[in-house]
Structure formats: structure tokens, C-alpha cells
């Protein structure tokens, strides 16, 4: 098992190299330059100043040299400073992590809490009215765009009912609240975003859980469990569910990169300062160090997520092992 993990970790290196090369060149080949923004903001910037800025950022060197310089920094885990405000890139990302991570984690937990029981119930009562309404709602929420749902919920829950704040992370008078008041205020602000984020995901997972469970219930060992004299609840929740949950483990692993992904549309609608908006702004201003840092983080998380999914699958499914043969 450990040799397998080491081999997989080593395999990340060439893959990461490929990803960074491609994204490094693509983002630099895209029209627009980081200095162009400063120019357009200030018409008095002279061509000389522009050249000086390019020289300062190292943008005057050939592309492959720029890449090598960047690579030399990266292997020392130095992601450089932002072109915009000269702050370390990692610092800018780190301050956005708690919000995005917290939001996505809460949404993920909510998704699993809703989708697993709903999908299982749907499968057990396949083709019943319950199953059909769950299917209908799943497809509806799956198809509905997040931004539209978000606006609908804001209109209904925040404006008409006034239950939750419309957007933002804190109230205006946040500073005057007690510690508990601050926590409560944040939760109230995050409720709608978490809810909306969960809705899109719950639909897919419910369908997935339903088909897993139906598949498990068709297996011959279910006939055995009944022939043994097990009560129906044990047949369903011990013998079938245990097998139906195995593939879900993979989904959990694969959702790890998404936890730090953030969503531009989503964070813009709710006016939340998350990673999604940071990345969006970085792309718009061609803030190369920040863009590349985001790319590296996402790539590493995706590959680690895949590895974790594979390892945890071997832990829960006795048929899978990575022993050297």
C-alpha cells in the first residue's frame, strides 16, 4: 500500500509540470497585459514607464525564460507577489480560504445529509409517488441555474420574508456585536449561500445514490439475506446500503478540490469575498503570479483528491487492494 501511495505521489510531478506549462503559456498568450490595466487607469503613464514595469516583472524576457524563473521560485514554494498590490500571493489566497472552505464544507455536509437518505428511500420505494416527486425535484434543481435560484431565494427569503440578509458576510453594525452575536450574524449571512450551493449538488447525488441502491438490491446476495430470515430493515440497511455506499466514497474524494474552488457567479451574487472572485479578478487584471498559484493549488488538490478517493475505496471495499503482486 505505501509503495502504491509513493508511486502515485511521484506520478503527480510530471502531471503538474504539464499542467503548469500549458496554463503558463495560455495565460500569457491571451490578449492583454498586466501593465495595460495600469495604463488605462492612468492616461499619463508614458511608454517608458510601461517598459520599466515590464522589466520589473520580468515580462520582457522570452516566455520559456519567464517560465524557468517562475519554476525556480515554485520549487522553493515561493509563489511570488501580486502585480496589483505587491502583496505575497499566498497571503492573498490564505485570507480567502476560510470563507470558501467553510461555505463549501457546509454545503457538502448538507448535500450528503439530504441526498443519501433521499436516494436510498427513493430506491426502496422505486416507482412510487415519493420516488417520482424526488426524481422530479432532482431534475428541476439540477437543471435550474444557480444564479437564478439564488436570485429567487433572495427575493423570497430575504426581501419578502426578511428571514436572512440579502448578501455580504457581515451586517453593517457587526463590530458592535458580542462574540455570539458575531457568530450568529455570520451564520445568518451564510445560510442562503450554503443552501443554494447545496441544492445543485444534492440533486445529482440523490440520483446517483438511488441508482446505486437499486443496483445493490438487484444483487443475488440480497436474495440470500432474505432467505436467511433477516428482517427487511437489515436486508436494506445492512446488506444493500453497505454496498450502495461504496461508490459514494469516490465522490467524496473527488469533491476535495471543489472545496477550495469557489464559484465566481455565486460569490458575486451574494457579495462574498471568496477564492472564486479573487481568481476572477486575477484573470481580468492578468495578475500572472496569482493566476498560476491558483492553478497549481487546484491541480495539486485534484490529484490528491483522486489519490485519496482510490485509497479510501481500498479501505472500504475488501475486493480492492493495491498490494504489489
Amino acid at each position: 500500500m505505501s509503495t502504491y501511495i509513493i508511486r502515485r505521489l511521484l506520478g503527480i510531478i510530471p502531471l503538474l509540470f504539464g499542467i503548469t506549462v500549458v496554463s503558463f503559456f495560455i495565460i500569457r498568450l491571451a490578449p492583454g497585459k498586466p501593465v495595460a490595466v495600469e495604463q488605462s487607469l492612468n492616461p499619463r503613464v508614458s511608454p517608458e514607464l510601461r517598459l520599466r514595469l515590464e522589466k520589473q516583472f520580468g515580462l520582457d524576457k522570452p516566455l520559456h525564460v519567464q517560465y524557468l524563473i517562475w519554476m525556480k521560485q515554485i520549487v522553493r514554494l515561493d509563489f511570488g507577489r501580486s502585480y496589483i498590490d505587491s502583496r505575497p500571493v499566498m497571503e492573498k489566497i490564505a485570507e480567502r480560504i476560510p470563507l470558501t472552505l467553510g461555505l463549501n464544507l457546509a454545503a457538502l455536509v448538507l448535500i450528503f445529509l439530504i441526498a443519501v437518505p433521499l436516494g436510498v428511500r427513493s430506491a426502496i420505494k422505486a416507482d412510487s409517488a415519493f420516488d417520482h416527486s424526488v426524481t422530479f425535484l432532482s431534475f428541476l434543481f439540477f437543471a435550474a441555474p444557480t444564479f437564478w435560484l439564488a436570485l429567487l431565494f433572495m427575493q423570497f427569503f430575504s426581501i419578502q420574508l426578511g428571514w436572512f440578509p440579502i448578501s455580504g458576510l457581515t451586517s453593517l453594525d457587526f463590530e458592535y456585536f458580542s462574540a455570539w452575536g458575531k457568530a450568529g450574524d455570520s451564520i445568518r449571512h451564510l445560510f442562503l449561500p450554503v443552501f443554494v450551493a447545496a441544492i445543485g449538488g444534492f440533486a445529482g447525488l440523490t440520483r446517483y445514490m438511488r441508482s446505486n441502491m437499486i443496483e445493490a438490491l438487484r444483487q443475488p446476495y440480497i436474495a440470500t439475506a432474505r432467505a436467511k430470515g433477516l428482517p427487511e430493515s437489515a436486508v436494506l440497511y445492512s446488506h444493500a446500503l453497505r454496498n450502495a455506499l461504496l461508490p459514494v466514497v469516490t465522490i467524496l474524494g473527488l469533491s476535495i478540490p471543489g472545496l477550495l474552488g469557489g464559484s465566481v457567479i455565486f460569490e458575486s451574487i451574494f457579495a462574498l469575498p471568496g477564492i472564486g472572485r479573487l481568481f476572477y479578478e486575477a484573470v481580468m487584471t492578468r495578475d500572472y503570479p496569482l493566476i498560476m498559484a491558483e492553478v497549481v493549488i487546484t491541480a495539486v488538490l485534484t490529484m490528491l483528491g483522486n489519490l485519496i478517493a482510490d485509497i479510501s475505496y481500498a479501505c472500504v471495499d475488501p475486493r480492492i487492494s493495491y498490494k504489489e503482486r
Binding site: 443475488p220 446476495y221 440470500t224 432467505a227 430470515g229 427487511e232 446488506h239 454496498n243 471495499d317 475486493r319
Partner: protein
């Protein structure tokens, strides 16, 4: 004085609902199994053998239903039993073994867990006690290394080993009737012989009735006291094994026997 049979099936009719289309899988089957008897239910694929076998414990798939007839087991009317009575009887009074032991065993539980589960369920003993009993049962079915097999998952064992373990699990609560649905069809010929010998030996020592389902007339002739021949959902011939093989009444039985004689297997 004629003793009451252990299992008595009268005019059993099982119909499938295939999206509006009704299909009769078992059409008025009628036969009985006496105590300590080995009865073989034989016939070609699709003749309704397996469905009849499953109907005995009301284990039919959800789209199948028993539309008429009666099944009496040890004096009880199975079709009138409540769900609790049924689950109390399954595995304890009537046990099953199936065709492919690997797929009929749950892949995510060890052999030991699956045998102990049955024991705990029907005998209400502590898990450790059930585990000890499971080890004894594995010895009884001639598994050389019971402790290793107890800790193994089905995919780690051979087909023959799995079938032995399955037999141990089914006999854990000393059932009165063992229904064996083609238990050797998926196995090698040598293993088939071993499993058949084991079953007959266990039957002798434990004293249960065996309803053995097969399409193989050679096996039917070898092990059975009585044969029941099914054809297109109907029981077309039945009686003492020697009688049926010597003077078959139905033309289908004659055809089957002739087919076996032609290839020299009887």
C-alpha cells in the same frame, strides 16, 4: 398409516407482471416432500423450477405473485403467515443454497460475519458464541482451515470453498428442509462430486429433507428418492426415482431420458 409430508404444494400458480403483460411461470404445480427425503425437481431452463423453489418461502421477486394454490410446511400454511412468522421460519426451518455461491454471498462481509449473522438471528446467542459455532460448522463441511476462511471475504475463496461455506451457513440452524437450487452447476465436475457427496452425508447425519433442483438427470437419478419433472411451468411427471426412469409417463420425460442415454450419461 401414511405420515403427513413435510412440504405439500397444491395447485401452485405463480404469475409475473411484465409491464402489463401477465406471464404464468408456474402453472398448477403439485408435489410434496416427505421427512428425510431427497426429492429432485428436474427440468430444462425456464421450466419454473427456481420460481417454485423461491415460492416455498415467499421469496419471489416483487413483480411475481402467487395467484393461487397452497403451500403447507410442517402443518403451517405458508401463504397465510405474517411477515414476522415468515422471517422467523426462513433460515431456521427452511434454508436455501444457490447456484453461484460467490455472487450469493455479500462481497463486503467476511464468511464468518455472514454465518454468525444467521446464528445470532435465530438462536439469540452472543456474537463470540456464534463465531465459535461458525468455526465448528466450517469443520463440519470439511473446510481444512476454518479460522482463515472465517476471516476471508468471498472473493478470496474458490467456488467450491464458497459453496461449502454457504452450506455451513444454511445448515447453521438445523433446518428441516434444505432447498438447493442448482448448487453445483457453476462448479467443476470434481468439485461438483465433492459437494454432492458432502450434501448427502450431511443429510444422513443431520436428518433434513432435501429439495434439490437441477437440470441434470444424471445427478437426479444418482441422489434422489423421488423425482418431479417440470415442463413449461407444469409438473408433468413425478414418482419414485426408479419408477420414473424405468417407465416415464410424460413424453417430455421420455425425451429428456433419451437425450441423456444418447450421450451415455445415464
Amino acid at each position: 398409516m401414511s405420515e403427513q409430508p413435510l412440504l405439500e404444494i397444491t395447485d401452485l400458480r405463480v404469475t409475473f407482471d411484465l409491464e402489463g403483460r401477465r406471464l404464468t411461470a408456474v402453472d398448477g404445480a403439485q408435489f410434496s416432500v416427505a421427512r428425510n427425503e431427497t426429492a429432485v425437481l428436474a427440468g430444462e431452463s425456464g421450466s419454473g423450477k427456481t420460481i417454485t423453489a423461491l415460492a416455498i418461502s415467499r421469496l419471489l421477486p416483487p413483480n411475481a405473485a402467487i395467484s393461487s394454490g397452497s403451500i403447507r410446511f410442517n402443518g403451517h400454511d405458508i401463504l397465510r403467515m405474517s411477515q414476522e412468522e415468515l422471517t422467523g421460519m426462513r433460515g431456521k426451518e427452511i434454508a436455501y443454497i444457490f447456484q453461484e455461491p460467490v455472487s450469493f454471498l455479500n462481497p463486503v462481509f467476511t464468511i464468518g460475519d455472514q454465518i454468525a449473522e444467521t446464528i445470532v438471528l435465530h438462536q439469540r446467542v452472543a456474537p463470540q458464541q456464534a463465531r465459535r459455532q461458525a468455526a465448528q460448522l466450517l469443520e463440519q463441511v470439511r473446510i481444512p482451515d476454518p479460522q482463515r476462511v472465517l476471516a476471508s471475504y468471498p472473493h478470496q475463496l474458490s467456488g467450491g470453498m464458497n459453496q461449502r461455506a454457504f452450506i455451513a451457513m444454511s445448515l447453521a440452524c438445523q433446518p428441516r428442509l434444505l432447498v438447493a437450487d442448482e448448487p453445483t452447476t457453476s462448479l467443476d465436475v470434481t468439485i461438483e462430486r465433492e459437494i454432492l457427496d458432502l450434501l448427502m452425508e450431511l443429510k444422513k447425519s443431520l436428518g433434513f429433507s432435501l429439495l434439490f433442483i437441477t437440470h441434470n438427470l444424471a445427478i437426479a437419478r444418482k441422489i434422489s428418492d423421488r423425482v418431479i419433472i417440470m415442463f413449461q411451468g407444469k409438473v408433468v411427471d413425478q414418482g419414485a426415482t426408479d419408477t420414473v426412469f424405468r417407465c416415464p409417463r410424460h413424453h417430455h420425460t421420455r425425451e429428456l431420458i433419451q437425450a441423456y442415454e444418447k450421450i451415455g450419461k445415464l
